[in-house]
Symmetry: C2
Subunit: 210 residues, 2 copies
DNA sequence: ACCTGAACACCGTTCAAGT
DNA sequence: ACCTGAACACCGTTCAAGT
């Protein structure tokens, strides 16, 4: 009985990997399992529940082994990097993460790991939940933007009423042109962002100790 | 002719406001305009193009008047606050922002305003594009998390294999329990986040001047 | 120039029925 | 216990036809 549900989940994930989340329908999943759409309902409940289950299973696979790294910085980095590589390999998971409350149990485990990293860094208890949200929001947003294509926009032609980028009315873009024309190295950028955020965390921590 | 397109856009936005983005279909929009679904195509091209057009129109309405505020901090705050209140009043816009490249012209104008705020703050030119992405990613992610329900999760029961939150295996949650049980004030939290990010920006700026 | 109607290949889900 | 088949109320889009 649990086997059947696993089979259904695996089929749904395979379809999402191959043809995207919008190709996952009760009909397409049922087809792959070799059964009628209605046969799925006793196992998955509804389409929404199926999506939740897919999310939970994937997050669970990607959560890095956190006991391994002793330094809070390393643990934070490995969590952030896991989110990012998850988004890169399975972009459809990001849509799920942002479109529904993160009540999936495996997601809560990740939150807990970040809590502990911040506590170890010396952030006062009262500030930890907020800083955790700040960080996870950024990690999620970065992953979503990168894999969703929001970052790659500059190279494309803006879709506007006139279709052309009016550089004259965009003084910031004009001044920064030399840095905007070279395509960024997203790995390096994420690294630099992490360093800046580590500094932010340490500032919170040292203010506490003094 | 442009009138007809405006009428279609207004109908689509009204439906999204009233019944969510998923209620926006070519059929429902056509119904509201009092026309057949096929009559929309000459004006909007496709459903995707219709969504883009909705996005552009809304962003345009919400971009705050930036010439007004002299201080870069105020300008940054008003941009961030605009994003957040947009997300609160029209949650469906956030899905659009994250699910497609931000090539809509009006969105580029917002980016430019943030560039200028950072330049005025004294951030070195070479760092501005990255920091702008860091900030806009956070603003977007925060807005999405808040309006999409990702933040509200703690109060609900986590959906997991067992259905109950196993506090024993979540030491971080256990230690932070006193601060996790009181529901956060999201306005105050966003304010605190903005202050932390301003400090991050000033650190980048002063390192440059020395 | 602007719109309609029928059609095609899809959706999630309910309900009664089969073995 | 597990699955099917028909049906309902939906999708986006193409294509030929009407005025």
């Amino acid at each position: 009985m649990a086997e059947r549900k696993d089979e259904i989940l695996a089929a749904a994930i395979a379809i999402a990997d191959e043809r995207g989340l919008e190709a996952v329908s009760m009909r397409s999943v049922a087809d792959r399992v070799g059964v009628t759409p209605m046969a799925l309902y006793p196992y998955v409940g509804s389409k929404t529940a199926l999506l939740d289950a897919m999310y939970g299973r994937i997050v669970n696979e990607y959560v890095p082994d956190l006991a391994a790294a002793a330094d809070w910085r390393e643990r934070m980095r490995s969590l952030a990097t896991a989110a990012r590589s998850l988004a890169k390999q399975r972009p459809w998971v990001v849509s799920l993460m942002l479109s529904r409350p993160s009540v999936v149990l495996d997601a809560v485990r990740v939150t807990d790991a970040l809590y502990q990293a911040l506590l170890d860094a010396g952030v006062p208890d009262a500030d930890v939940p907020r800083i955790e949200r700040l960080l996870s929001t950024f990690f999620l947003g970065y992953s979503a933007s990168e894999s969703g294509g929001r970052f790659g926009a500059r190279t494309q032609n803006p879709r506007g009423s006139r279709g052309q980028l009016p550089e004259g009315r965009l003084p910031g873009h004009a001044r920064l042109a030399p840095w905007l024309d070279q395509a960024p190295d997203w790995d390096a950028e994420f690294d630099a962002d992490l360093r800046d955020l580590e500094a932010l965390i340490l500032a919170k921590a040292s203010r506490h100790q003094s």
